[in-house]
């Protein structure tokens, strides 16, 4: 009997091919959308973390409150001791200091006369201390457009667009004009070693990068830093434990009388990132829910359309002596397997496409040219374990659900009526 029914399914496209296609399409789109939203989301989080927020960030309280002004006069000044404490308290995190500072880059001619100048944001990061991993974290090698990474502290990298604006090329000299943390004037010459493009509109505008130690030196910030960024050792942002760490760290300074006491802020709590994440997650859940609903409706309809053709089959089977229950259950089992096949293929396709999009991605940098938030300019999908059931289960259920409803509709009729319908 089972063989017989399987033969029937395979030979009748309305029973097999069409519903399988519907499920496959529905499931693969669901899976892909989920993976895509996830990918963009986590790329967004990890880009933000790497370029700006860290998984956690420590500043002094007043610095944090005025962070938009980059107030280095309010910087952390006991960096080495703080880092040591952090290393022992939170062994699963790595801490790297970064100094952000404003100023003007000036391009002189041979006589020292200004040719061009423009305001920029400086970034002091560890360029030479491999253990800090900053080159890799900011993927400076990959982002390099022209020239090379600095070899000595007196070298500087500019963002590609900033260098174009200033019309400087690798090897040219630029002078930084700015102020120390105490407010005295600084001017310091650097040799431009190369340019980078982070693929990030905010950073790509007018950033320049020098070595962290050099920044400390020229800004008079011995043993100090503006920001101290923490990264989980596995490089994956963990919302729950970062909040826990944030809480315990801040608790230890709760009663501190030091007005420059440090404060730790998790990625979620920086720049309203948390609500952005939550919003996107909510939207994607709603989207998936609606999609599953629509797929169920389509499948249900496919079942009903097949219904009239199946009246004939059911009628004959009943006349031959199959019981209603047997016919009904065979319909359910049949749709279970159809659902299984469609969902498997759909999941496979969806995950494959996600994988492709994880490795490649869509470049949207043109659309983001003037964007003010840090957002990845290449949208990527991400293959996560939940992709394997997020489309699979609804695909399976909606098929079984659809045919159980249409099957019930047929079975509520009197058996004899199944035949009368056929008489036409």
């Amino acid at each position: 009997m089972i063989n017989f029914l399987i033969k029937g399914i395979l030979r009748d496209r309305t029973k097999s091919l069409i519903p399988i296609c519907v499920i496959t399409i529905g499931v693969s789109i669901t899976v892909f959308m989920a993976g895509f939203v996830k990918g963009v989301m986590s790329d967004f989080v990890s880009t933000t973390a790497k370029l700006d927020s860290g998984h956690l960030k420590i500043m002094t309280k007043p610095y944090y409150e005025n962070k938009d002004q980059i107030p280095n006069d309010l910087a952390i000044l006991n960096l080495s001791m703080l880092t040591r404490t952090l290393d022992s308290s939170f062994p699963n995190l790595k801490w790297v200091p970064r100094i952000k500072f404003g100023g003007i880059l000036d391009v002189p001619d041979k006589n020292g006369e200004t040719i061009l100048q423009g305001p920029g944001i400086g970034l002091g990061i560890h360029l030479f201390d491999k253990s800090k991993g900053e080159l890799a974290r900011l993927s400076i090698n990959k982002s390099l457009i022209r020239g090379s990474i600095p070899n000595s502290p007196d070298e500087i990298i500019l963002s590609e667009s900033f260098s174009r604006k200033l019309k400087v090329n690798p090897g040219d000299l630029v002078t930084y004009f700015g102020a120390t943390m105490e407010g005295s004037m600084v001017f310091e010459s650097f040799k431009m070693s190369g340019t980078v493009n982070f693929g990030n509109p905010v950073l790509d505008k007018s950033t320049f990068i020098i070595d962290f130690n050099e920044a400390q030196k020229i800004l008079d910030m011995e043993n100090g830093t503006g920001e101290l960024l923490g990264f989980f050792n596995n490089d994956i942002y963990d919302d729950v434990s970062s909040l826990k760490i944030e809480k315990s760290f801040n608790a230890s300074y709760e009663n501190s009388s030091d007005e420059f006491a440090p404060i730790m802020v998790s990625l979620r709590n920086q720049n309203d990132l948390g609500s952005t994440i939550d919003l996107i997650n909510t939207f994607s859940s709603i989207f998936i829910f609606i999609f599953v609903l629509a797929m169920s409706m389509v499948l249900w309809n496919t079942g009903l359309i097949g219904g009239l053709r199946r009246f004939q089959e059911f009628g004959i089977r009943l006349a031959i002596g199959e019981s209603k229950r047997h016919v009904y259950f065979s319909l359910l089992i049949e749709s279970f397997f159809i659902g299984l096949i469609g969902s498997s293929i759909g999941t496979f396709l969806g995950v494959s496409f996600c994988y492709y999009m994880q490795e490649n991605g869509i470049d949207i940098s043109a659309a983001l040219e003037n964007s003010a938030i840090i957002f990845p300019s290449v949208l990527k999908a991400e293959v996560t374990p939940d992709l394997f059931y997020i489309g699979f289960i609804p695909g399976l259920l909606s098929m079984v659900f659809g045919s159980s409803l249409s099957g019930r509709g047929i079975f509520r009729r009197n058996t004899a009526n199944l035949f009368k319908e056929l008489e036409v």
Binding site: K7, G8, L318, I320, G321, R325, L422
Partner: protein, 234 residues
């Protein structure tokens, strides 16, 4: 033995609610059928023929009265008991749509045997034999859409008869056939009726069928109008 009725209908009525009132498709029908009868239920369209056959075949149940089929009271059977009764003892042939389009002739006939526990070997023997009865051995691997109307009805006969049922119910089996095919099908059924002692009950309003019948029951507006025995044929 052959004189005890295998189907007994007593004061059988079937009504449907139509526009708030009961409409009687069958009204107070009392009649019985004996083993190996070859009987026609004759009457114009709407006279209740299909309803009568469906009740005898346990596809439908009466509104009042009793229908005893092979000692089973149709009104009292559960769905699965009714299914079992059909499976073992009753064959059906309908006017149209008898065959499942995706299956071959062979498979359509075999289908009737799958619910019973015959071995594959036994099934094969039975199916081939049934196809031989109706002269379609050579068409066993064809799909129904490659068959003529007459051939399709022959396959339907083979499927209904393959399990050698006690009762065969045929609802206007020749209605869609030309004279030649109708006659040939009737002859086949008559032969099987004699060889297997199956009780045949037809519904028909086809004049061509009449002369084959050994007994004719005329239905009119759900009631038995008259009944006659045809002695003429051998």
């Amino acid at each position: 033995m052959s004189n005890t009725p295998i189907i007994e209908l007593k004061n059988l009525s079937k009504s449907y609610p139509v526009a708030g009132k009961s409409f009687y498709a069958l009204k107070d029908v009392s009649i019985s059928f004996k083993k190996a009868e070859f009987t026609g239920v004759v009457g114009p369209s709407g006279s209740g023929k299909t309803t009568l056959l469906n009740i005898i075949g346990s596809l439908d149940s009466p509104s009042s009265g009793t229908a005893l089929v092979l000692n089973n009271n149709i009104s009292e059977l559960t769905h699965s008991q009714a299914a079992k009764l059909r499976n073992h003892h009753i064959g059906f042939i309908f006017q149209v749509f008898n065959l499942l389009p995706v299956y071959t002739v062979y498979e359509n006939v075999e289908f009737a045997l799958l619910l019973q526990n015959f071995s594959a070997e036994k099934r094969k023997k039975m199916v081939l034999e049934a196809l031989e009865w109706v002269g379609l051995q050579d068409h066993k691997d064809k799909k129904p859409d490659k068959l003529s109307g007459g051939e399709s009805q022959r396959v339907a006969i083979a499927r209904a008869m393959v399990k050698s049922p006690k009762i065969l119910l045929a609802d206007e089996p020749t209605a869609n056939l030309d004279a030649e095919n109708a006659h040939s099908i009737l002859k086949t059924m008559k032969t099987l009726n004699k060889e297997l002692d199956t009780t045949f009950i037809f519904s028909t309003h086809d004049e061509k069928v009449m002369k084959y019948l050994s007994r004719t029951i005329v239905l009119k507006d759900g009631k038995i109008d008259k009944e006659r025995a045809n002695k003429s044929r051998t």
